[in-house]
């Protein structure tokens, strides 16, 4: 971790200057949304103050700048995830959820036939479940779930049977509840071996480790700008060119057409066919700046830093709360990221989060949009701690102060 100074990083994030209930804020909810460095906020203000114009269709200077900003962001984020052809593969959506819906309702609805099998996992976020259910209710596909083992891993022992008839395997790169990092490359190879494609939910992983779509072997991935230090209102869908080019449009409207008459319309070619209406231009400017910032820190360095914090937290939980706190997720650092779900005996996650708030600590209670996983482990909710590049040992001290207090009050 030479060169990585969390205190310096922290200083780049205006929100971390806040004082909550007389405590410096300890933002430990990056799994829900990350916060932004000043450079991201400034990039968006800069657009609004200087180049606020619509894209694609005008010739005046600010409109050219807006177009360059927007298309530049497409290339920037494409390179960040190792996309071979950013201009032809990166689609901007409003969030990762829309990216899933677009893919399922365009690729899925056009390529899948009744009885085709879609393989998900029990640890998926609702964004990677509900759109498939909607498609099933419409065209009659079959959905199967890779089970999760008692040690919080995908149980691949029955995968061969699950893959019979499969046309797509869609799994998360990293669980937003367990922190588990899944063996994406292995899943890609096994999916491809039976002629299925592999879709990866990269929402939780993209800001915390190096992402390379080619090395992953993925055919499509989805993520959100707001979980990678960027703004709300922007998601990314990357689809391999060969697959994307066969996908029919999803939303209809301006910007996605080649022609419209009173009789019908023809869709544009290329990624713009999936981007109907005025796109999130300022948000794209923000995402570019976020990617710049992440790369400046270095994705490997960020991963190291967060692993250190995660290890520290797991250790302190084991020593200070043995038998009182169950961790819903792997208890060692192996193949796990900086998301730690707590189940504290006698303290409901909502109450825990409320007590922690009094210490300036931000953690998220709830089902984390993963109700099937909650049921699998017999809980209705957990309190989730999650890290970002700006997290520090000081945040952890606040967290543990609060945990001790909560156990005292409710225990």
């Amino acid at each position: 971790m030479s060169g990585y100074d969390p205190a310096l990083v922290r200083a780049d994030f205006p929100l971390l200057g806040r004082v909550i209930h007389d405590h410096p804020i300890a933002y430990l909810d990056s799994g829900a949304t990350s916060i932004s460095p000043a450079s991201v906020i400034t990039a968006m203000s800069h657009y609004y103050e200087n180049s606020h114009a619509n894209v694609h269709r005008a010739v005046y200077v600010t409109a050219e700048e807006a177009t360059a900003t927007y298309e530049g962001a497409r290339r920037r984020v494409g390179r960040f995830i190792g996309a071979p052809h950013p201009d032809e593969e990166v689609v901007f959506t409003k969030n990762a959820t829309e990216a899933f819906n677009l893919f399922v309702k365009s690729w899925g609805a056009s390529q899948l036939r009744p009885g085709d099998v879609v393989v998900l996992s029990e640890m998926e976020h609702h964004a990677n479940i509900v759109p498939w259910f909607q498609l099933r209710d419409q065209i009659g596909i079959e959905i199967r779930f890779i089970p999760v083992s008692d040690d919080f891993r995908l149980d691949l022992s029955g995968l061969d049977e699950l893959l019979v008839g499969a046309k797509v395997v869609s799994v998360t790169g990293m669980s937003n509840v367990l922190g588990t990092i899944n063996p994406v490359r292995e899943l890609a190879d096994r999916a491809h071996a039976v002629g299925a494609i592999l879709v990866v939910d990269a929402a939780q992983s993209v800001a915390h480790s190096v992402t390379n779509v080619v090395e992953m072997g993925a055919d499509a991935i989805m993520f959100s700008a707001h979980k990678m230090l960027g703004p709300t209102g922007l998601g990314v869908l990357w689809v391999r060119r060969e697959i994307l080019s066969a996908m029919p449009p999803f939303l209809g409207g301006g910007g996605m057409i080649a022609d419209v008459t009173l009789e019908g319309f023809t869709a544009a070619s290329g990624v713009t066919r999936f981007e109907a209406g005025t796109p999130p231009i300022a948000e794209a400017a923000g995402l570019s700046a976020a990617v710049d910032y992440l790369e400046k820190l270095g994705m490997a360095a960020i991963a190291d830093h967060e692993a250190q914090l995660t290890g520290h937290t797991l250790e302190r939980l084991a020593t200070e709360f043995a038998g009182r706190v169950r961790i819903l997720g792997p208890s060692t650092l192996e193949k796990r990221g900086g998301v730690i779900s707590l189940d504290v005996e006698g303290v409901h996650p909502h109450d825990l989060a409320q007590v922690l708030d009094q210490f300036g600590v931000c953690v998220r209670p709830g089902h984390h949009c993963a109700k099937p996983l909650m049921r699998r482990f017999g809980v209705v909710a957990t309190a989730r701690v999650s890290f970002g590049p700006y997290s520090t040992l000081g945040d952890l001290d606040a967290l543990f102060d609060g945990l001790h207090h909560a156990v005292g009050v409710f225990g």
Partner: protein, 154 residues
């Protein structure tokens, strides 16, 4: 800024630790109504017996945070054995209590709630300072309303 003591009043912690009227009733004759809070996963089941216009018995099961559990317990104590007209009045008073905050947010004046008429329920007043927790406090009440609706549709 609202402090913890506004939320976790002694009465609330007491009802949370020793919930009143917990358990099931045979259904039928009792009605059985499920409620849940999709945002946080809290669940409740409310059993009701109404006899000759009186809510003669109420029992509840479920899981949830201290606020939702205490609110359920406080509610059961406040309505058990009461004529339905009294029960409805209690519900209205509770609702008024919980909407103070929304109204204040909107900058509109709201009818002040007469706290003395609330008895122990007044302990829930602090919840309005924590808008996200209002949904916890109202879960049991909304389920009660639904249950009464099933018994005698309005």
């Amino acid at each position: 800024m609202a402090g913890m003591e506004d939320l976790y009043k002694e009465i609330i912690m007491d009802h949370y630790r020793s919930p009143r009227n917990r358990g099931e009733l045979l259904s039928p004759p009792a009605t059985r109504t499920e409620g849940f809070n999709p945002l946080c996963g809290d669940e409740i089941v409310v059993y009701l017996i109404v006899d000759d216009g009186v809510l003669t018995d109420i029992k509840m099961t479920g899981q949830g945070c201290s606020i939702s559990q205490a609110s359920a317990s406080l509610m059961s104590a406040a309505v058990k054995g009461k004529p339905l007209s009294d029960v409805r009045e209690r519900i209205d008073t509770f609702k008024a209590l919980m909407t103070v905050h929304e109204a204040a947010l909107d900058g509109e004046a709201s009818d002040a709630v007469d706290l003395r008429r609330l008895g122990e329920l007044a302990a829930l007043q602090g919840v309005v300072k924590f808008p996200v927790r209002i949904k916890c406090a109202t879960l049991a009440w909304n389920t009660l309303i639904q249950g009464l609706e099933e018994i005698s549709p309005t």
